[in-house]
Amino acid sequence: MTPIESSAPRRWKKPPFIANPLVRYGILIVAAAYLIWAFGSLPFNWARISEGVPRAARIFSGGFPPNFDRFELLLTGFKESFQIAILATLLGVLLSIPFAVMAARNIAPMPIYLVGRAIIIVSRSFHPVIVAILFVAAVGFGPLAGILTLTLYSIGFVGKLLAEEIEEIDWGQVEAMRASGAGYLATLFYAVFPQILPRQIGLSMYQLDSNLRASAVVGIVGAGGIGGTLMNAFGRYDYDFAFAILLVIIAVILLSEGISGWVRKKIW
């Protein structure tokens, strides 16, 4: 090879994401114009905001120091939240398996696939709070509404990700089972489920974590658990108790995140 000539250095710049400069700068200008218009046209009531700041300060100062006197009430609320989260996770994760199988294009025939996808899309289309409002209206206040809400939420989330996992399995194993004359269900149990098991356990841990958070939120609209306790504390201006509840929620979430992270690292 000839040595590199030290002539004029060749220049290099990363090519822009959008090649056409007109489009590139046009998009930037449109985005900036929209932001200015949006902020200008939304009804910000500055008088109300300035009034609200000291009120917020009063609420927060009312929260200090947090009051753990009604510890038992707090414990009851959390116990119920845990029950809701654990039951909903178990139910949701178990039910998500058949729906995921139905919604996996590679192992489900077309009509079944469409039904499976539809179920997953529907259960994913609403935020748990909206679903909780519906279930509270349907089955009344209390933990049952919470369990139903979070079960549906879990089916949607775990089912979707599991279906995608099934679509990406090593197909050779399925072919080998078919070639040996195994039936559909035997093939599922031998060639499909072992391949998605690590993902399934990881997702279940994540879902438990997520249901624990969500169980506090859906409690606010009357679906039982610590959310209800929190709402009552706010309603009675017990800001110190409310603050105590918030602190415990943070602690519980941190703890569950730590545990689920550790478990997910243990399986591969």
């Binding site: 194993q173 089972m177 040996s180 004359g181 098991l197």
Partner: protein, 266 residues
Amino acid sequence: MLEIKNLVKRYGHSEPVLKGLDLKVEGNSVVSIVGASGAGKSTMLRCINRLVEPTSGSITLNGVELVHLKGAELRLARRKIGMVFQGFNLLDRLTVMENVLAGRLGYVNLFQAISRRYPQEDIDRAFHLMERVGIAHYANKRADELSGGERQRVGVVRALMQEPDVLLADEPTASLDPRTSEQIMVLLQSLASELSLPVLINIHNVAQAKTYTERIVGLRHGKMIFDGEPAAFNKDALDEIYGGIEAPDGDITAEPAASETTHDAH
């Protein structure tokens, strides 16, 4: 006896991959099928156990027509056809024993399959075959912990667990190093005579085909252009099969060093 008559396979509206193949395999003969990539070797093998749907033609195994079977009948027919794959296709996260017993899935019911309560004869047969190929001590190891050659032995034993009437091997040695692949060829050859089982082997390595099988079938563009004994497979036949497409993997003049590798397993 396996008999293929006028087998045609066409994907969509493109040119057929198989253009009217005829093949008859009897007794415990080991047949190797050679041909360049895309010649239709794999498609032909997969048509036999219907992993690929034939477009037309007839395939009979011991008098049973396989082409139009559906559902339970297809499963019953498939369990009499063992298959060994290029990529082994083992159930990686399950144990070697579970992989071997999976060869019985066509025979046991769903409860037995899920609870792993296989009949005692199956377990005896599994240990017997695993000892024969030298993997019995791995019974409780996970399949993905084994080396390539060991994994293919598991694949072979799994296929034999089906008590097949014919064994299909789709490039069984292509993922293995040269020495291990010769061990697997020796194993297939000796198992065929021990169990008096006809074996069809798709293979790229012409030298191995000549050494370890007693009949060579050459495919090109979906047609059979050679069918005969290894001795008759000369330079002309090789050129006809691979000529103008690609160089064959093995040199026709080179015979593999069989002295060291004939003692397989143990």
